[in-house]
Each structure stands twice: as C-alpha cells, then as structure tokens.
Amino acid sequence: MIFPERGRLNRASAAVSLPLLLIGVGAGVRADDSSFTDTDDVGPLNGEQIYQHICQGCHMPGGQGAVGAGYYPKLAGDKKLVSWEYAAITVLNGRNGMPPFALPAAAAKETRAVRLSDAQVADVVNYVRSHFDNKYRATVTARQVQALPHPVGSMAAP
C-alpha cells in the first residue's frame, strides 16, 4: 500500500505546540507522557487518504469492519449509509467510543482528537459511500456538512 502523504501527517510541531498540562484538572490525569504530540491538523488530505490513514485503523481496509469483544461496523454494504447525514454526523460527533472529528481546536487538544474540515468530512463520507461495494453518488458538499449538528465544546451535538 502506498501512503504518499505520510510525511505530511507526521508534522508534530514541537516549536508551537502547547504544553500538555493545559489539560484541565476536571479531565483527570492520564497515563501518557508524550510531551511533543500535537497532531490536531491532518493537512490537506482527500477522502481516500483520510480513510486509509485514519478510518481503516478500525473499519479495516476495504471497509470490512471487525468483531472482537465489541465490533467496528462493516462499512462495505452498510445499509445505514443510505443516509449521508447519518454518516457525516457520526464522523463529526463520534459514536459509541468512536472519536469525534470536528471538535473545536481547544477541545481537540484536550482529548488529542483529530480535526477534519467540513470539506474533508464531506469527502470521506463520499469516499465511503461510493466504495467498498457501496453505490451511492458522491455528491455531499462541505456546505451540506456545515449545516449538520457539530460538537459543542468537547461534547457531541445533543
């Protein structure tokens, strides 16, 4: 598999990242100490690249999903994808342990979340809905995604 954009994703910016200890006391302490990690911006990746760099970690290559103690939904042939809004709201807000990908910058930093733009969310939704035997038309736009509920603070949209 080729990851032409790999380098772009790895631009942890030591000189500008904020210290970890910005994490509020309310969030509690965590068992990690990666003082340099600052990765909230994926750069200009398209839908296919976002899927291959991020989504397939859980949803697997080819959208095959996986079953363990719980499961990662199989996106290949997933009937729920008939609703592009469902797919986009899931990417924006997260669902059942899946992280949200549209947190505001400060909230994303607090939880090490990754941020995608509305255009990227549209693009990855289009990619998933038009690949892996899914035959929906890839016509979702950034403007349409923008109109959907986004996280408020660090919380999923109510």
Partner: protein, 536 residues
C-alpha cells in the same frame, strides 16, 4: 484580596492547631487531608466488606485489574463470585508479550513474539508510581516483586529532527541550560530592580542566592562554561583520577537555541505527580500481576467468554455470553449483583437495560488511540555505546518515546526497547498500517536517534490498541465537559449494576484508577447488599 488570602491561611493554621490540641494527631491528619495539606492516597486500604449476606452473589464482567481486585475482595468477604473474561488469559490491559507469545489483532493479523528468553514488552501499562498504593498493595499480596522504573534518565535524549541538526541532546544538558539561562535572566531582573514591587529587599537577597544554586550560576550570577554549569550539564572532559584527571568544562547551549528547539517541552516529564520518582515495575513484566491474580482466583474466572447481553431485573442480573473463539455455545450467568468492568468502547455495543443517564454516559467517552512497538536488538548498544541505562528518550518524531529496559543491565546479550509509544493522530495512522509496517516505521524513525538501529535490529512486535479485540481502544478519553455531564452518572449504581475500571476514575489509563474505582464501587454495592439482607 491579598489580605483575604493571608487571613484565610492564618485562620486555617489556627484551626489546625486547635484541632491538634483538642483531638490528637489522627484527627489533625484527617483535617489536614480534608484541607489539602497532606495528600492521601486514593487507595484507602482494604475495603471493609464485613457482614456480607449469606449466599449473596456478584457477577463480575472482565478479568482485568478492576474485575480481579474486586473478585479477590468480594470472594474473601464471603460473596459468591463468578468472573467472565473475553480473553484466554487474565489481566486485560495488564499484559506482557514475551518470546513465544502470539497475538492476533482485529483484522486477523497474527504476530509471533520472537524475543529472547526473559525479554519482553508491556503493550499496556508499564510503570507504577509510588503513590499508586492500590497496585502496590496487590503486587505485595500476590507475591509479585517490584523493581525500579526509571522515568527520568539524565543521560537519555531529548530530540527533534528540526533542532540541533537532528542531533539528539542529552536531557541533563537541555535541563541545565534552560534552568541556568532562566536563573540568570531572573537574577538580572532582580538586580536591575525590575522585581522590587513583587519581592521585598530581604527576599531579593534570598532569591538571588537560590537562583545561583538552582541555575548553577557563578559568583556574578552568570551561567557560563565553568565547573558550576558542567557539574549539571556534564563536562567536555569528565573529572577523573591521576595525571589525566583535570576536567574540561563544557560549553552551554544558548537560551535562544534551547527555546527555538522546542526541546524544553521535554524537561518536566518527570515532574508531574504520576511520573515523580520513585516508580516501579513488576520483575518480569507488568503482566506478572494479572497472571498472579489469575492463579489466585483460579476457577472463579471463566475465560474465552464474550458477553453479548446484560439484563437486570428485580432480583438479579443475567449476562448472556458465547465462546469468544467460535461465537457459539450461548450460555447465561446470573447473580444478585453485577460489577461490570468492560471497557466503555465495548460496553456501548452490548444490550444493557440501565437508566438513560447511564446509557448516555457509556456512549459518551471516545477511546484514546495508542501504539506500542517493541524492538529486539542484537546487543544493548544504548548501554554499551551511549551509557543509557533505563529511562526514556523523548522525540517529536511520531514514535514519541524510546523506552530503555529498566532491567537486565550489562547482560551482554540481546535487548528489547520500547521503540514507539504513540498517541493522537500518529497513533491512528500507525493503527491503519499492517503490524510489519508499524515495526519498520518505528525502526526508521528511531534510527534518526540511534544510528545503530538498522545494523543491530533483530525482530519486533507492534500493538495498536484500537486493534485490540478485548478493549477496542486504549483508555477512556474524558474531557472536562464530558466529566461534568456524565462522570457521576457513570459511577452511580444502576439498580443492581455498578461499573468500574480506569474509565470510572480520574486516573485515565492508570491501573490505579481501575483498582480504586473497583474498591469504591464494591463498597457501595456491599452496602446495598447488606441493606437488602439475605439472598432475595
């Protein structure tokens, strides 16, 4: 405002004196704890579960630290205990991969650990700070010896490919230089009367003296290439014995270079409460604790059991489970009460009749993405070539950490490094790779710090926590907002079900969070059980 603070402090002190005089030192200590002067461990010692109703039973879901510490205490208190565990082993995230082990991740990739005998990697937790008294208690009870874990090694590196031409810097040099320059600046400001408003004349003298000591400044309050500074940052030529003994001081790096490098971010890594010396690790790997718990609990744990449904009614809780290898052979287990330690990432997908508030809390916590890569090398070059004995190198490369083994020093044979410990986006990206590609990437990145990597590499293994079949993520990632909205609901007993685990704690990802949440939950369950009397 200032006066208010002062008078509050005085009255608090007076209050304590009064308590000390009238009620003795135990009450004084208790009062100090309440006021925040003495930090008590969240582990309160063995929970009091006396008076368990005869025949009362508890079903425990998950044989990790939360489930097994609870099972141990409840069994000892006389409860009838059964534990269901998805894996074929005890421990959960308390886990060590050793030579000869195999691991199959979600997606089906199987890795065979080819480390030498006695060499290992802890894919999950790897350190126990001294104030995690619950974990230390169980290590002691179970007869698992602990040895030192070096969080800070002054001779390990801080590194950025964008700083100092990509040359790794020794921690002691960055720390000493940063501290020295800051001390010099502050001393200068003090002597130029810039702090006259904030610091009294007498305190300025003390401040200057303390800055000289803290920053290793010379008699002119300068941080310079001399023996004071070199005694912190290291020498160009170390002092020795005999005719060749004379030390040569080293040249400090300028403040601008330190600031531009960003390496100052790595200085406080041993200063946070959870990382402060002393820290410990079990001899032979963190998994020794889970294994010992598993032996102790024996037949109380049913392995290879995947819970597919949890249902409570007026008299008890029934869990339906299947064989986790075949997904067949449906069975049920029932008890009066249930302690559920299943990670929220998994629990959110299991049918469970609880209140809307608890259900919302269960679904509200995304799980952190994390990677660990273990790399075996043909020799311990970090010790032999670079005099790094244990501890951690930090880098802003995606691998983030290189952890050196805190055991087996000078052994002459092969050695295993923690070659990557990754969070956030980089972890997601590594998760999306195949295991061999993760190992290769860790090797490529790490070789920027240790050029010996490629020549000495032997074999490696990579664990991506979102590919872990039994947790589907590393740990619950609470935010301040989600804590405020959901945390208390998550921890409340719901009918006959209580949740426990690191996700039900303020110690995210720490085993101590699992243990203390379990002790808290079972003490509350016990109260309910006692209140209800004998088995319904």
């Amino acid at each position: 405002m200032k006066e208010d603070v002062v008078s509050a402090a005085v009255s608090r002190r007076d209050l304590l004196r009064l308590i000390g005089v009238t009620a003795g030192s135990a009450a004084m200590y208790q009062a100090m704890s309440a006021l925040g002067f003495a930090a008590a461990s969240p582990y309160q010692g063995q929970v009091d579960l006396s008076g368990a109703p005869p025949g009362a039973s508890v079903l425990i879901l998950g044989a990790g630290m939360a489930g097994m510490s609870a099972a141990y205490e409840l069994r000892n208190a006389g409860y009838k205990v059964q534990v269901l565990e998805y894996n074929a082993r005890a421990g959960g995230r308390n886990w060590t991969l050793r030579g000869g082990d195999s691991y199959t991740e979600l997606g089906g990739a199987t890795q065979h650990c080819e480390f030498d005998r006695d060499l290992y990697i802890n894919p999950g937790p790897w350190r126990i700070p001294y104030h995690h008294q619950g974990m230390m208690h169980y290590a002691k009870v179970l007869g698992v010896p602990l040895e030192p874990f070096f969080q800070v090694n002054y001779n390990a590196y801080l590194h950025s490919p964008k700083a100092f031409g990509g040359k790794p810097q020794r921690y002691r040099e960055v720390k000493a230089d940063y501290q020295g320059h800051v001390a010099e600046l502050l001393a200068k400001a003090t002597r130029q009367h810039a702090l006259d408003d904030a610091v009294s004349k007498e305190d300025q003298e003390r401040l200057l003296e303390s800055l000289r000591e803290w920053g290793a400044l010379d008699q002119n309050f300068t941080y310079a290439a001399n023996c004071y500074a070199s005694d912190r940052r290291g020498y160009a030529k170390n002092p020795g014995g005999g005719l060749s003994a004379r030390p040569i001081p080293s040249e400090p790096v300028g403040l601008g270079d330190i600031l531009t490098s960003g390496l100052w971010q790595g200085i406080p890594n041993g200063d946070t409460f959870d990382m402060q010396t002393a820290l410990f690790q079990p001899v032979g790997g963190m998994g020794r604790i889970g294994e010992a718990f598993g032996r102790e609990l024996g037949a109380l744990i049913r392995y290879n059991s995947k819970v597919v449904d949890i249902a409570q009614d007026a008299t008890g809780v029934t869990a339906t489970y299947v064989d986790s290898r075949t997904l067949g052979g449906k069975q049920t287990a029932r008890a009066d009460w249930c302690l559920c330690t299943i990670p929220l990432s998994v629990l959110a997908e299991i049918p469970l009749n609880v209140s809307a508030n608890l259900a919302a809390a269960i679904s509200a916590v995304p799980y952190a993405s994390a990677i660990k890569v273990g790399l075996q090398f043909k020799r311990r070059f970090w010790e032999e070539d670079e005099q790094i004995y244990g501890g951690i190198t930090y880098t802003d490369l995606p691998i983030t950490n290189i952890g050196y083994p805190n055991t087996g020093f000078f052994s002459g044979g092969k050695g295993v490094l923690l070659g990557a410990y990754i969070w956030g986006l980089n972890a997601m990206e590594f998760t999306a790779m195949s295991p061999p590609e993760r190992v290769q990437r860790a090797l490529d990145y790490g070789s920027q710090i240790h050029p010996q990597y490629h020549r000495e590499f032997d074999n490696g293994i990579a664990v991506a926590w979102h590919r872990s079949p039994f947790t589907m993520g590393c740990f619950g990632m609470w935010s301040t907002d989600s804590r405020a909205q959901h945390y208390d609901n998550l921890c409340q007993i719901d009918g006959r079900i209580a949740l426990a685990g690191e996700h039900a704690s303020f110690l995210g990802g720490w085993q101590e969070g699992a243990v203390t949440s379990s002790m808290d939950a079972i003490s509350r369950l016990h109260k309910r059980a006692v209140a209800q009397g004998a088995k319904a």
